[in-house]
Every structure is written in structure tokens, then in C-alpha cells.
Amino acid sequence: MIPGEFIYHRPSSVAEAVSLLVSHGDEARPLAGGHSLIPMMKLRMAAPEHLIDLSGVADLKGMQEVGDTIVIGAMTTQHELVNSDLLIAKLPIIRETSLMIADPQIRYMGTIGGNVANGDPGNDLPGLMQCLNAVYVLAGPDGEREVAARDFYEAAYFTALAPEELVTAVKIPTPPAGHGFAYEKLKRKVGDYATAAAAVLVTMSGDTVSSCSVALTNVADTPLYAAQASEILNGSTLDADTVTRAVAAAEAITMPAADGRGPAEYRTKMAGVMLERALARAAERAKG
């Protein structure tokens, strides 16, 4: 399997990368870790005439805490997310989730920007970013703009990202210390996309939930922020009745495809099971 021909570009700045995207339009594709794009190119399902390798853009690397926000450069790899002391201390759910992406080799190459920008409903980070209420920074010919992860995804592989724009960073509000979290993913084997997965972030005040956020992965064309389920859980004591109602509300918004991972009804049910497990584990971890 050999990809079609293309001209290789390796810009060293965001401005240069954007100007290449502008001049080549639909014929250009940015290359991050390449583990979604290169397989598609090998199958000739993608045949960009210009490939813009972002690995030389230093500004897209690294992460830092700015006030009450953690800013992660788009070219930060999943391996770097897993091993970041900052994230382990402040946002451990990112490590937990990243460790469930693909396999070690792919995590060395795969990036947060590629994972969130590609619009593949099977990717794990988009749902997580919706749970965390992250914002994506997009750079285009007219400068920067920000789009919330919860507004970014339109359909499978269709997002708010314009062809001449790049995701340059992900901004995540730092959750309060002592928050509970869990990412539960059901998969057939290591490296598989989720049959269904759920991300939960919860803060407790004593026995009461003071804030809760829930999102689901790979049970629709897009990741799903489960607004109603989050609302039901908010202010509750996570008693069985409330959890049952929240799970039902989350299941109600799923629209999974029937595929090798199972029939649609099964995947909807598994989204509920993942949510229930994630809630239990997040509550156990929360220090209220």
C-alpha cells in the first residue's frame, strides 16, 4: 500500500502553515501524528497533493498552566500527555484516557490536536474535551478564534474547522483540586475504538454533587456532551434513583451505528453501563 504522490512541506511557524493551507486550499492536508491520515492515504481514500507536516512548528508543542486554564499545544503527543507531571497533578483524567488510546507506538506519534480535529467519532479525546468543557484555539488567515469542544463537532469528520484553519492549542479549565474523574471505555481488544465510552468529572461537597459533567464517546456521529444527564446528577447525592435517571437520559441521546462492535441497542446500553461505572469510580475518587 503506497500513498499517492504529494509535495511535502515542513513549515516552521503557524503563520507559514496557514499560508500554505490558504494557497493550496482543498488540495492540502496538515499532518500531525499521521496515524489517521497516513492509513487513509495508503488506502488512497485521502490523496492530498500537498502534505503540510506540522512537526517543525515549535509553537504547537508543550503545555502550561495559565491562570486557571491549562493550555496544551496541538502537537503534544499522547505519550507526552500520559507522562506530564502537570496533567497528572491537575487533570489526571487526561492520562487515564490517553492510556486507552491505541497502543504505545501510536501514542508516541498521535497528538491531541490531531485526535480532536479529525472529527472521527471513535477518537477518545473529543468526548473527554467536551466533558472538561475545553476550548479549541483555531488559527486561520484572519487570525485566531476559539470554539468550544461542545460546539465543534457537526457530523462524522465534519467540524467547525475551516479547510484553511489549524487547531493550534486546547484550553482546559483546571478542575478544582480533589475532583473525581473517570473514563470508562469498553473495547473488544487493545487498540480498538470504543464500543462505548463515558467520561465523568465530578466535584463533591460532602455527600452532595456540586458539579458534574458527563460526555460519551463513539455512540453517535459526534462525541456527545450529556447535558441533561449532567444536570440530573448535579445537586444529587448520587443515589441509585438519580443515577438510573441520569443513565437513561444519557442513553436517550445516543445514536450508535450497528457495526462489528455490536448492534445499536447494545452499544446504547453499554454507554449507560460505562456511565454508571464511571460515576461510581469518579465519586469514589472525589474528595469533598
Binding site: M1, I2, P3, G4, E5, F6, I7, Y8, R10, L31, G34, H35, I38, P39, M41, K42, L51, D53, S55, H79, A102, D103, P104, Q105, I106, Y108, M109, V190, G191
Partner: protein, 169 residues
């Protein structure tokens, strides 16, 4: 004939500096096997699942079937051909794979050993669970995982100055 201009790539492979012109679409696995005659890294699935093409690039295990040679420009690469000790004797990992019968058909072995090499660089004394998680990107179709794990444990023990007591399955 292609109208696309070839591009220069320079890299250090198994300690030796190489410089070639390649078509931009050349995958690293093809560059290694066909341009450099390093046929240790294998083409298994060609879809980034099996890990037979694994090589070390700048201290990272990568699947060379899912990387353009151009992306490895200026990188330091190690393939199975670069795994033996400088004096030509087997490295601890190679010895482990021999002693513990860590291979049957042998097709996955170059990828397994190169991956295990990088794993042990990062985590010199891994638990069995960490080894299994660490080689999750490498498939053995003979399903000889028990002995592959033991081979890596053997190497870790040796590198940490311990004797490995277990026998191969």
C-alpha cells in the same frame, strides 16, 4: 514518471549516518528495507496494527509503515540490525528471546525486540503487567506471548544484575 521532486533525507541508522533522495510518499519501512537493505523490520499488516515494522526513532517506538521517511529526517533510528552488543554478542534482550524461546515463527521478533528495547530504556525493571501493556502494539500470530514476556523479564533481570529463575513454557 513522477513529476514530484525527490527530497533529501538524512538520518543516523544504527549509528551510521545515511543520506538519500526519496520520493516524499516513501514510507519509512520501504526506505529501510529497499534503500538501506535493512530487512529486519518486517511488513506485516501494513495498517499500523501488528507492530512487526517497529523501529526506535529518537527513543520512541514507532511503526515504520505509518511514517514517511521524510518525517524521520535528522532522526536517530535503531532497527533490529542495531540491537546486538558492540562486540557482536547478543544483547540481553536477544539472549532472553533465545533462552526463553521467545519466538516460534520469528516474524514478529524484530518488532518485539525493538519495542522491548525502548520499553526497558523507559522502565528498566517493569512488572509483568507493565511488559504486557508495553508490548500491546505488537502482535504475535503464533500467540507465543508467555515466552515473549519471559524473554523480556529475563533481559530486565540480567540488566539489573539478577538471575532469572523461571523456565520457558
Amino acid at each position: 514518471m513522477s513529476e514530484i521532486e525527490q527530497i533529501p533525507v538524512t538520518m543516523t541508522v544504527n549509528g551510521k549516518k545515511v543520506q538519500r533522495f526519496v520520493e516524499p510518499r516513501t514510507l519509512l519501512i520501504h526506505f529501510l528495507r529497499e534503500d538501506l537493505n535493512l530487512t529486519g523490520p518486517h511488513i506485516g499488516c501494513e495498517t499500523s496494527h501488528c507492530g512487526a515494522c517497529t523501529v526506535d526513532m529518537n527513543g520512541m517506538s514507532v511503526k515504520s509503515c505509518t511514517l514517511f521517511a521524510a518525517q524521520a529526517n535528522n532522526a536517530e533510528l535503531t532497527t533490529i540490525e542495531g540491537m546486538a552488543n558492540a562486540d557482536g554478542t547478543l544483547s540481553a534482550l536477544q539472549e532472553g528471546f533465545r533462552q526463553m524461546h521467545g519466538l516460534q515463527c520469528g516474524f514478529c521478533t524484530p518488532g518485539m525486540i525493538t519495542r522491548a528495547h525502548t520499553l526497558l530504556q523507559e522502565n528498566p525493571d517493569p512488572t509483568e503487567e507493565e511488559i504486557r501493556f508495553g508490548i500491546a502494539g505488537n502482535l504475535c500470530r503464533c500467540t507465543g506471548y508467555q515466552n515473549i514476556v519471559k524473554a523480556i523479564q529475563y533481559a530486565a533481570a540480567k540488566l539489573n544484575g539478577r538471575d532469572y529463575q523461571e523456565a520457558a513454557e
